[in-house]
Symmetry: C2
Subunit: 454 residues, 2 copies
């Protein structure tokens, strides 16, 4: 672990995520340039404060008055996006300090990641002397829908409970984009890049206290400041779920991580021990990071371990049961009373039990009727896991009705549903039923919601 | 393991998959009915032999002359699809025997799966006495694009190298549909249902000898006939990859499997030992079954363990390296010669090594140029793993050019590419570059192609 920053105090990032005005230094009128895309995204995000494009060669960009420099703006600027070539970035930050800007997102590359340590040192020096916090450099930027700030790409506007913090811009962007398309949305997204200044601990602290954030999903290659990470982690880990995927677990992965952001990738065991100490949850893959964050963005963690599976596909139900049991959850049999009640409600060819096999001809209404019955007769159930294993229309509207009546999490898998699935899948997420593409993945998501204890 | 069938000889299924004429018993003119969908799919599949809809109440269905019974057809019928209510199925099979039909796909339910063992026994009796082979009952049918036969749903017409055999209709249909949409296609698909007659060993034998099939992907809850399975398995396992996902690994999963198709789910250890004995590969999830089958449907298994990673996303490259190394593959460093050559070909901000980080601004051409250079300087590479970690257009056309020149498998991940990814992803598959949604999944696919030895 590196310990460049000895302050060990997490930074105050309120004016980063709640900036009242934003300047885009390196804004461009050329749609081929990143400086165009960033400005365009910020505008399309609907940012409500003033936006100042900075470009000495333009009078106006995308309908906004452009300024030759930050100084020329002549009004307070809270946040600055920097897309100029790296060698100009320290000068921009120096000027930012002079005009009183609090933070900058330096998207520009050309620093430590290509061995240009001097340039990065100059950037850090400018930041410190001017009192400007820096995200980056060499990063894919930030997104915070609650304040309608997007200094990043792609444009993600949908608000949700998932905050993404990542040493890989691509992984953050890919997961954010998925969350947007699947009607989950994001609370925030930060690509750390070379993290010369603001680091993962600062961001975990911020999102930990942020009322918009329900779960923090992190991709890290190494911890920047061990002491700060542990201090912040203990605070945040006690009150909000934090999921961490580690890149550089193997010797060769570690070496690659050192070239990537020139950060010292922590040894796996030390990293794991730190996570355990602060109560963060380690995940094993990008899909798992996303799936668990998605579940916890919709459903808070809760005590319990008993899961009732309802399925139209016998095989998928069995696969889900296997994974639930392997993860330490309890696919308990139904009481005699519940079995009787279900036998009254359901057609005789359904297989009453756990899994409850509603069979291939089931309409979505049958799931609702069965859960309604169980909500009365089987109070020990902690979570309902619904598998829609065919093109079953109206899954969403029936789940919405259920959610009004049933005081337990309802999560789903949708598999083998063709075009009906394509329509229902995001709608279910949007309706508060986190939905996954396979029985294994929904079972893992159930485990992330339920603590396994009661 | 059950041993109901003591013959232990795999069945000759050539007239099942190469039927010259097909009758659909229970064909319906009502688009709400399965008997309509099945007939419609068979027609739209483009089956070239005669199709006989059987329905005593119709003169014509979907433009085809309908017959009141199989006997009334008065011409030879090789294959029969059965969608009548279960109680009528034994009579249909009896008649099928009389008219000389060789095989029947009994989609109808209402047999052992709901405790009606007598009806299933009657079905088996009719089949044996008439010499009719049965797929099912209570199944989602079969699909075999080479003969344009689809007695199943959804309609899948695209031919590919992957044969699917499944005790779950939903799992088979979901994977077949994915393979179709992703431009991979299928060699065949069989939902076993209650497998009262033709079983997994018969089908593994058939697809093992089938020149259209490159890989066999199987979902099984239990083995029906242990002796036959081992005999067939040894033969087929020696010449073709067979991947198996087992449902019912846990005690409660096993119980659920027993209700599902009333098959005795084998104990996990015995099952695993059988797979090892015949050289089949066990997989752990539906996604893994699909991913590995997809890789092997395009690229034959080959000796080797050295993988070269090329990426636009540093983080994704690191994640891939971790998984490759954890799976026993070799992400070996490049020779000095190769490093020099790449330094000439690539812009200076690229990070030359393994992974080769082409960085976020890379066009698809840079991947091609790098692989072309490595094909000359680094003959020890066994497989190229390309990660497109941004919206990178023309990935497919550059890979197509590469495939003309490079004598090694090329596989890819596409992540964080938005709409460009949506277009390129299936095209890459169709162009012979199996492509996966995350670095972990493409790494696992690499492991399924390379034996790990040389």
């Amino acid at each position: 672990m590196e310990t460049e920053n000895n302050s060990n105090q997490p930074r105050d990032l309120s004016l980063l995520f709640n900036a009242r005005s934003v300047a885009v230094v390196g804004a461009s009128a050329n749609p081929e340039k990143l400086g165009y895309e960033i400005l365009n995204n910020l505008i399309n995000m609907g940012f409500e404060g003033p936006i100042y494009p900075i470009n000495p060669k333009a009078e106006e960009i995308l309908g906004l008055k452009a300024y030759p420099s930050l100084t020329a703006v002549g009004k307070p600027v809270d946040l600055i996006g920097v897309i100029v070539p790296g060698k100009f970035a320290p000068g921009v930050i120096e000027e930012a300090g002079k005009v009183g800007a609090k933070n900058a997102v330096v998207i520009s590359g050309g620093f430590r990641e290509i061995g240009n340590d001097e340039l990065e040192a100059a950037l850090v020096e400018a930041a410190r002397s001017g009192g400007v916090g820096i995200i980056g450099p060499n990063c894919q930027g930030i997104n915070y829908p609650a304040s309608k700030i997007c200094l990043s790409w792609p444009l993600i506007r949908r608000k949700g409970g998932m905050a993404l913090i990542s040493q890989s811009g691509t992984i953050a962007a890919a997961l954010g984009d998925r969350a947007d398309k699947e009607e989950i949305g994001i609370a925030g997204l930060v690509a750390l890049g070379n993290r010369c200044d603001i680091d993962e601990a600062d961001l975990i602290e911020y999102f930990g206290a942020d009322p918009n954030t329900d779960v923090i999903a992190v991709y890290l290659e190494g911890i920047r400041d061990g002491k700060k990470f542990l201090e912040v982690g203990k605070r945040v880990g006690a009150k909000k779920p934090v999921l961490v995927l580690k890149g550089g677990r193997t010797e060769r992965g570690r070496k690659a991580a050192e070239s990537h952001t020139r950060s010292i990738a922590g040894r796996g065991e030390i990293f794991d021990a730190a996570l355990r100490k602060v109560g963060f949850e380690k995940v094993e893959s990008i899909d798992e990071l996303y799936d668990c964050a998605k579940a916890l963005a919709v459903e808070p963690k809760r005590p319990g371990k008993r899961v009732q599976v309802l399925t139209s596909s016998g095989g998928s139900g069995i696969v889900a049961v296997d994974v639930l049991e392997e993860l330490g959850l309890d696919v308990a049999p139904l009481s005699e009373n519940s079995r009787k009640r279900l036998a009254e409600v359901l057609p005789s060819h359904c297989v009453v039990g756990n899994p409850l096999d509603l069979t291939g001809d089931t309409p979505a209404e049958r799931y609702r009727e069965a859960v309604e019955a169980l909500a009365e007769t089987e109070p020990g159930i902690d979570l309902y896991l619904l598998i829609f294993g065919d093109p079953i229309p109206r899954a969403t509207e029936n789940c919405l009705e259920l959610k009004k009546k049933v005081d337990r999490p309802i999560i789903a898998a949708y598999i083998g549903g063709g075009e009906v699935e394509e329509a229902e899948f995001p709608k279910l997420n949007g309706a508060g039923v986190p939905t996954f593409p396979t029985p294994e993945r929904v079972a893992r998501a159930a485990r992330s919601i339920l603590t396994g204890k009661k």
